[in-house]
Amino acid sequence: MIRVSDLSKQYGALKAIDQVNFHVEKGEIVGFLGPNGAGKSTTMKILTCFTQPTSGSVNIAGFDAFNDSIEVRKRIGYLPENTPLYEEMTPRSLLRFIAGLKGVPTKEQNKKVEEVISLFGIAKFSGKLIKYISKGQKQRVGIAQAMIGEPEILILDEPTVGLDPKQIHEIRDIIKNMQGKRTVILSTHILPEVSMTCQRILIINKGKIVTEESTVNLMSRFHSHNIFEIEIDGDEKKVQSVLRDVKNILRIDVKEKSNDQRNIYEIETEKNIDNRREISHAVVHNGLGLLSFKTVSRSLEDIFLELVTDEKEAEVKDE
């Protein structure tokens, strides 16, 4: 559905994106992840034909974004960063205007507009000028305008910024429900959002794609690092020495100290080796009390930071 090859964009001396390659299948929801200034918005601007790349090509639904930009734009619904909207229009008149531009036949315009108005709960403020509505309401109008005309592809640049938790939940549900029906690319720097809504993740940093993987794979790949939280009753020094004797333990930290010697320790063990049995055995047989034993799963946040920082370190080494 979307095929991006060797895409680069340069603003003067600055390389905003550098040789980016990826593809998105029909019906997929892909999360575009990266720190601010990584090149997410630039990529999206190129996909929506707002900006031309310095080199490389974009093919969307069989059309070239450069040569057939009108055909491409007909198939795309776009929500730019910060949700720019005509402040002096009402949501209803804005949506009607956009329905017109997107080629919705005049007869159906009213129906389609009312559809998105009820879908996104816009009815209550559909008659107010956009400059007077709240940020969350604006965001809903923004997504509604992208959805109008039922485009095959939705490109959403930070769709949940500025919304309250309930609204974020609603928007996420809406996006999730599009799975299989529409192709969605959404950018964000909020990680739980991606793990909740997207099937696949593209991580971009400093203009380059760092990782491209399915959400499930990415999570499991990083789970192979084992981290446990163990609450042990006993003298700290003794616990340390006992644990040090167990094989394959990389790190022992005291996570929470308590007055009655019941400390919580964080232990990291070698990848892909399950030595929980050895750990518990060592603790119990040395007269210590094993109060709780918990596997800590790493959040996407950690994975993200690691990928992004790895990149940084690698670059420093290069220099």
Binding site: K9, F50, Q52, P80, L85, G100
Partner: protein
């Protein structure tokens, strides 16, 4: 074509949802009224003198066309020069500043439809202003018969000259996201084009003729006197097309600059 109509309608009606349009109409009508009153009063003094003394004094002439309509429309053309930058300065600048430009350019709409939609919306608003000035010839026609062909030619001239100013304004507005710069620059550029003819006497004869031909006011003067020259119409059309073409090129280059 459909897109053009949609965009035109939105742009045109958007003028009236902001206070800017009403401010412009108010100032325009105030100034037009002021000029009309002055010219009309002066004309009545002159014609009284003629009736009493039988001599012509002053340059007003003694028919209403030369005494009222022509000077009035010349004055209106100055007011238009002052006000058109205010009409066009928002056109692209505001969209660029608010980011709606990005949204607009990603809808399936061709660049020329955007340019024409904005141009004709501003032109239609200007048309409303010019239509409002018809009150004054109407007042005159109560007391004297006016020469309709001169009035029509004069209005046509005002419309064409205004359209040329608007085209300049649209071009400049597409170059900056700052409305004040857009307005100021438009005014400056229009004024220079307006006054180019003044340099005719100082310049060499060849260049002088060219400058005179380039001057926006020069061509309007013919219209205001009731002469419709193909040359003048072609001049305005060329001017407008060039400005809109440059706007189009600028939109295109925006895509590369990002």
């Amino acid at each position: 074509m459909n897109n053009f109509v949609t965009l035109f309608k939105k742009e045109f009606f958007l003028f009236f949802t902001s206070p800017v349009a009403y401010a412009i109409i108010t100032i325009f009508m105030l100034m037009a009224g002021f000029f009309f009153y002055n010219i009309f009063a002066y004309y009545s003094v002159v014609s009284q003198q003629i009736a009493m003394q039988g001599i012509v004094s002053g340059s007003g002439g003694i028919n209403v066309t030369e005494g009222i309509l022509i000077p009035f429309h010349m004055n209106i053309s100055v007011v238009v020069l002052l006000l058109i930058p205010l009409i066009t300065m928002r056109s692209f600048s505001e969209e660029k500043k608010n980011g709606t430009f990005e949204l607009l350019m990603t809808y399936p709409i061709k660049d020329y439809e955007v340019v024409l939609g904005k141009f004709f919306a501003a032109f239609a608003f200007y048309g409303v202003l010019i239509t409002l000035t018809l009150i004054y010839p109407l007042i005159v026609s109560v007391y004297a018969s006016i020469e309709l062909p001169v009035l029509i030619s004069s209005l046509l001239g005002l419309l064409l000259m205004g359209a040329a100013f608007i085209a300049v304004g649209i071009l400049i507005s597409s170059l900056t996201e700052n409305q004040i710069i857009a307005g100021g620059l438009t005014f400056g550029v229009c004024l220079i084009f307006w006054l180019l003819g003044w340099m005719e006497t100082e310049a060499s004869p060849e260049i002088g003729t060219v400058l005179k031909h380039l001057s926006l006011i020069e061509h309007f003067q013919n219209f205001s006197k009731g002469t419709i020259n193909t040359k003048d119409i072609v001049y305005y059309f060329d001017f407008i097309i060039l400005m809109l073409f440059l706007t189009l090129r600028n939109l295109d280059s925006n895509k590369w600059r990002g």
